[in-house]
């Protein structure tokens, strides 16, 4: 695309005052907002704003499998469809899904499957549709996080939620939650997901160059970040009901 303003990578990723370009400290997360039950037609749904990322997720299931030959006789199947809108990126993306989207769909699916009880739903499918409408670094982490919420919102039994976040290295220093420009211009990007029921990592990818001690430190930083994001997920799931309880109490309902 011929664009008049170019998507340039800044020379330095650290400001003179020691903070990151968007004003954050090394371990700070970007502002995150989550909401469930945003798409009425879906069995379950959620929406997340993570920095500039804006992502919707919808869950449909359990339902019959189309095409039929993909159905498994002894368990249900999970299918994830991660897609990005044309206008979600600086350089307009072609509407059709590309290889990156298909790879991320698979990675997110692998990451969520361990918490589901698919053996209870033979011959059926659970489908998760993820649409990134605004992207700015860490979309696969935000997508996994919002997809887990949508599953819980649908009433699909889960061993636990799944939370995801990325850590990495920019201009020599380790940081939590890379923004788009940090992801592109930095030296290392490590997205991780955790399935809380066994405290194990279900997504782990790495791009860049770091030393082994740095990797260990990254994993510790990730755990802290994941705890924080997890609490936001719990809040989003419960807030919907707590808000209604509070409104009901105001109207004088809480007597028994």
């Amino acid at each position: 695309m011929v664009l008049l303003i170019q998507d340039e990578y800044p020379e330095k990723l650290w400001r003179d005052d020691g903070k990151r370009l968007d004003g954050r400290e090394p371990y700070d997360l970007r502002p995150i907002k989550m909401e469930v039950d945003v798409i009425k037609n879906a069995d379950g749904s959620a929406y997340i704003e993570w920095g500039n990322n804006k992502i919707f997720a919808s869950v449909y299931g359990p339902r019959e499998v189309h095409p039929h030959h993909l159905a498994k006789p002894d368990r249900g199947i999970l299918r994830v469809f991660y897609r990005m809108a044309t206008f979600s990126v600086f350089d307009r993306k072609r509407p059709a899904p590309g290889r990156r989207e298909k790879e991320i769909s698979m990675v997110i699916g692998d990451c969520l499957e361990p918490v589901l009880f698919l053996e209870l739903y033979p011959g059926t499918s659970f489908e998760i549709f993820i649409e990134v409408v605004d992207a700015d670094g860490g979309t696969r982490c935000a997508s996994t996080t919002v997809a887990a919420l949508a599953l819980a919102d649908a009433g699909v039994p889960m061993r636990s939620l799944v939370t995801s976040c990325a850590v990495g290295k920019i201009d020599g220093k380790l940081v939590t939650d890379l923004s788009g420009v940090e992801d592109k211009a930095g030296e290392a990007d490590l997205p991780v997901s955790i399935t809380w029921f066994n405290d194990e990592l279900s997504l782990l990818q790495f791009d860049g160059q770091i030393s082994q001690p740095e990797l260990e430190e990254c994993l510790d930083m990730a755990k802290d970040a994941l705890d924080k994001v997890y609490n936001l997920q719990l809040d989003a799931l419960k807030r919907k009901y707590i808000k209604i309880q509070e409104e009901a109490e105001e109207m004088g309902g809480a007597t028994d």
Binding site: M1, V2, L3, L4, I5, I39, K40, N41, A42, S45, N52, K54, F56, A57, S58, Y60, R63, F81, R83, A85, T86, F87, S88, V89, F90, R92, P95, A96, E127, F129, I130, E131, V133, D134, A135, D136
Partner: protein
């Protein structure tokens, strides 16, 4: 109100039809009333313009992107606007994955025709150098929830997104197009506002803005796009037929309804101001 995950049932059909005969609708509206509109613009950081538009339960996100390319040979000094729509499977169990199907193409084309024949897109302003470089403006609609009447929601959402757009302004130099440092906004890009007004028909009853159950039960729709002075496009879809009297009546109604809608929505307020 009703679950749209499956075939619409005979009693729902007769319920809607019988009540329409008494001029009553399942959501309590009058025959010529719109559901509530809700518009937010310029909400997508990566896009050069955007709108998040709800009409009742129908919600559509529209984004504006641009490219610079060579003009069409028969329109050497005019920019181009191309409109696309995706009915996302996340928006409804009725939508399937895959390339745009009939419904999404119809949505894109009906919105496109309404805009094309109005003096809407300022195509001459969207030219950087005749025969060399013009803007291609992409208007991409993504349906997030399907609650009926995606045409009016998407069409008006597209107008709001275009009004909110802030496209870098280019000038022609020997090395090609370069940024002037300024932006094209609001009336640089879009002038007249053709509003699509969609009517449904069930039995002999005609009504404005079908919600989803009404849309599934009705066998046809009529969309009339109007600017302040003119009709810019008409589209009848489905197997229903309309009498010439009905069409005359609806075309008059479309102007009245559009007039009220224009003032209540006040779309120009969404023009982006660049400091």
């Amino acid at each position: 109100m009703m679950d749209i995950k499956r075939v619409i049932s005979t009693i729902e059909k007769s319920y809607i039809e019988n009540n329409l005969k008494k001029e009553k609708r399942i959501d309590g509206r009058g025959l010529w009333e719109y559901r509530d509109f809700n518009i937010k613009t310029d909400i997508i950081a990566a896009a050069e313009g955007s709108s998040d538009m709800s009409l009742g339960d129908t919600r559509i996100l529209t984004g504006i992107k641009y490219d610079i390319g060579e003009p069409y040979p028969d329109m050497p000094d005019e920019g181009v606007c191309t409109i696309m729509a995706e009915l996302l499977p996340l928006a409804s169990p009725l939508f399937e994955r895959g390339p745009p199907d009939q419904q999404s193409i119809e949505l894109a084309r009906v919105v496109d025709r309404g805009i094309r024949h109005a003096n809407c897109i300022q195509t001459k302003r969207l030219c950087i150098k005749e025969n060399e470089a013009v803007y291609i403006v992409f208007v991409d609609m993504y349906v997030i929830n399907h609650g009926g009447n995606m045409i009016d929601c998407g069409g008006i959402g597209s107008l709001a997104a275009l009004i909110s757009a802030h496209i870098p302004e280019g000038k022609w130099t020997e090395d090609g197009p370069e940024w002037t440092g300024e932006y094209l906004t609001g009336k640089d890009i879009i002038s007249d506002l053709p509003l699509p007004i969609t009517f449904g028909k069930i039995g002999d009853s005609v009504f404005l803005d079908p919600n989803l159950p009404e849309q599934l039960v009705s066998e046809g729709r009529l969309t009339i796009s109007v600017t302040e002075g003119n009709i810019t496009s008409i589209q009848k879809s489905g197997v229903t037929t309309f009498t010439p009297e009905e069409i005359k009546m609806l075309s008059k109604k479309a102007f009245d309804i559009a007039k009220d809608l224009r003032s209540s929505l006040d779309l120009w307020q969404y023009t982006t101001k660049i400091e």
